[in-house]
């Protein structure tokens, strides 16, 4: 049985144009430095760091969700393996590019390996993610080389290693924020890294569901794997909603009087309220819950695919609402008035260059996924226990 995915030339054309814009934007960033951004000394991280944590979560989630087949032999997850490895690889590479261009001194990244400070979580990420990327590359190689496909045992070892690495580095990323007592919105205990892991699983499942159920040309009825992914998403989204809802209730019940409460007030009623109400609440929680239930009840995989896309956008909005509001509350209530300058402001909205690079690099990631997938002829194979059918 052959699966062919026909992508409209228009979509390819748009992606190429956006990618070119992204390349131009990146060149402009390197020629002018970070003054092309709208970042300030009081809001030093913005959309690029948000994109980074979104993409590393997506990579980790994809890796987690192929383990049912690779480690436990559940055949209904078979068709997800190739796309998951590929998506994990390109999104992780894209995430690392995002964080690299965000550095003030990008070429100084070598210092991370020459002069590492092992007390810093960032160093563990800097070492862990490239190793994770290499492991994913190895898994991709093993999966797509027919002569090597029989080496499932090696693939199992690599998958175990990649799951452990994904868990550790994503947990470490969450811990880096949780340990920061200067930012009350971020500061916390184990629930912060756990939220990172949860969002990683959610975004991985959302991508795989959108990719598989949404592109199901054979039948609109969802397959068993689609239903399982949908249930994973349903449970994950409800759990995330409960965690966020508790934090929001905590802030509201204290009349927004705490510093984290003020940050939450900024999130729900500040100038970018729509990121929370439409993105985080709507696209991440409300819309997917209804569309998943609708898709399961009507046995229509297109609703499930739509829910996956909605969740992906919602997770990105959630990451934006994690990074930026954590920084817009100044260290002192009138610090930005003590010496006024645009670069010493607590107001932040990404500049045109930041948007261009974010959208452009996102297009490059999607284009890379589609092109590599086509090159690997993933759609022409269905594998059952390593045998071509």
């Amino acid at each position: 049985m052959k699966q062919r995915k026909i992508i409209s030339p228009i979509v390819y054309g748009v992606l190429v144009l956006l990618s070119l814009a992204g390349v131009v934007g990146i060149w402009y960033r390197f020629s002018q430095g970070l003054q092309v951004t709208a970042l300030t000394s009081y809001v030093p991280w913005g959309i690029w760091v948000s994109a980074y944590i979104f993409l590393i979560g997506l990579a980790g989630g994809c890796v987690f969700l192929v383990s049912p087949y690779v480690l436990w032999g559940r055949k209904e997850f078979l068709n997800l393996v190739g796309p998951a490895f590929l998506a994990a690889g390109v999104s992780l590479a894209g995430g690392l590019i995002f964080i690299w261009i965000d550095l003030g001194n990008p070429w100084g990244f070598l210092n991370l390996y020459l002069h590492p400070n092992w007390d810093s979580s960032i160093v563990w990420e800097a070492w862990g993610y490239p190793i994770f990327l290499l492991v994913i590359a190895g898994e991709l190689y093993l999966w797509y080389r027919p002569s090597l496909r029989k080496r499932m045992k090696l693939l199992k070892y690599l998958e175990t290693l990649s799951c452990v690495l994904a868990f550790l580095v994503i947990w470490d990323s969450g811990s880096a924020f949780a340990q920061n007592f200067s930012r009350p919105l971020w500061h916390g205990g184990w629930e912060k890294p756990l939220t990172f892991i949860l969002l990683a699983v959610i975004s991985g499942a959302a991508f795989l569901l959108a990719n598989h159920a949404g592109n199901n040309n054979r039948s609109p009825h969802p397959q068993k794997v689609d239903r399982e992914l949908a249930l994973v998403l349903l449970f994950g989204v409800i759990l995330f909603a409960a965690i966020e809802g508790f934090r929001l209730w905590e802030a509201w019940s204290n009349s927004w009087s705490t510093v984290s409460g003020q940050a939450w007030k900024t999130i729900v009623s500040g100038p970018y309220w729509y990121v929370f109400w439409i993105g985080q609440l709507g696209l991440l929680m409300v819309v997917p819950i209804f569309s998943i239930l609708l898709g399961l009840q009507r046995r229509d995989s297109r609703w499930l695919g739509f829910s996956g896309l909605s969740i992906l956008v919602g997770v990105f909005a959630s990451r934006l609402n994690f990074i930026i509001p954590g920084l817009v509350e100044p260290a002192f209530s009138k610090l930005d008035l003590a010496y006024q300058h645009p670069r010493l402001s607590v107001q932040y909205f990404p500049s045109l260059t930041e948007w261009t690079i974010t959208i452009g690099l996102g297009a490059i990631i999607i284009l890379a996924y589609l092109v590599i997938q086509r090159l690997l002829n993933h759609g022409n194979w269905m594998h059952v226990d390593g045998k071509k059918v």
Binding site: G33, L34, T40, G104, N111, S121, S182, L327, A338, Y339
Partner: protein, 302 residues
């Protein structure tokens, strides 16, 4: 041209000469006074090598707080076996909010557009009619338990024995994790902009002049630029190691800022006497152990 005209001319000439002569004398006197002030600055090396114990001429009139603090700094530098334990005290009752310290710091450290090491926070307390306003110059706290140090992935920022928390400009990669970690907003990022940004004459020579920070003489135009990395207050360590006081201390017109070796090094120093009085530290509950103490603060900024 009559006698009166001649006399007037002579008188005018005499007057003009006298005025000119007076101005000349005044100018020479001012130049002499300026030269007197410059001589100590020229005499001492701006770069102190570890092997050389700095020698300073004795300072007169130690009743003057500035001269006394300068003497204490030089005395602390003279004994290299003990760490100077640099400490700062700010009397908010003396601070009048003129922001001269902010500007002096910007001028001294050649700070670019959008960078400030020492903003002055304004804090109001009380209710009408007993309102009070106080000003809080906020340098880097040079914390003894700095939250910025462990988050730096490349050890670019670290704690020195003398109490200063510097930034290694060669090692910093500009990740800005330290900015997010600092609870005082004391770190700024050099975005590479100029004060004259967007004008036909940008940048001006004063903007591309070398900065004396850390005695490294960096310019923002050449290869060892500070663009793209973090910069922060370092108690003007390049001045301190030359036997001078931080620019903010010297500039403060009301004597609100006191600096010198702390109690561990010199319990009798002026700054030690200041912090022996009731003092507060900003965000002390975080456990960062700042080295900047505030006196007479009714309502700390939060």
């Amino acid at each position: 041209m009559g006698i009166w005209g001649d006399q007037v001319t002579r008188q005018e000439s005499l007057f003009n000469v006298s005025r000119r002569r007076f101005l000349g004398i005044l100018t020479r006197l001012m130049a002499f006074l300026i030269a007197l002030n410059l001589i100590p600055r020229i005499s001492f090396a701006r770069v102190k090598t570890p092997e050389n114990k700095p020698s300073f001429n004795p300072l007169p009139n130690l009743e003057n707080p500035i001269l006394r603090m300068q003497h204490e700094v030089r005395e602390a530098l003279g004994k290299q076996e003990d760490s100077p334990d640099w400490t700062m005290a700010i009397d908010v009752n003396r601070c009048i909010g003129c922001h001269s310290c902010t500007i002096a710091c910007i001028a001294e450290n050649q700070l670019s557009s959008g960078m400030v090491y020492l903003p002055v926070l304004e804090q109001q307390s009380g209710h009408y009619p007993t309102l009070k306003q106080q000003f809080f110059p906020r340098p880097c706290m040079q914390c003894d338990n700095p939250p910025c140090v462990p988050v730096c992935p490349v050890d670019a920022t670290y704690k020195r024995e003398d109490g200063i928390v510097p930034v290694d400009y060669d090692r910093c990669i500009g990740c800005r994790a330290c900015i997010t970690a600092c609870p005082y907003g004391a770190r700024t990022f050099d975005f590479g902009e100029w004060h004259t940004q967007g004008t036909p004459v940008s940048p001006q020579p004063y903007e591309t002049a070398h900065s004396p920070e850390y005695n490294e003489n960096r310019s923002r135009r050449n290869g060892n630029s500070t663009v793209g990395i973090i910069r922060k207050c370092h108690f003007c360590i390049h001045r301190v190691e030359a036997g001078l006081l931080p620019a903010c201390v010297t500039t403060c017109i009301s004597g609100a800022i006191t600096f010198g070796p702390g109690p561990k090094r010199n319990p009798d120093s002026l700054v030690s006497q200041k912090i022996n009085q009731p003092t507060h530290r900003l965000k002390e509950q975080l456990g960062t152990q700042p080295r900047v103490f505030y006196l007479n603060a009714d309502n700390l900024p939060s």
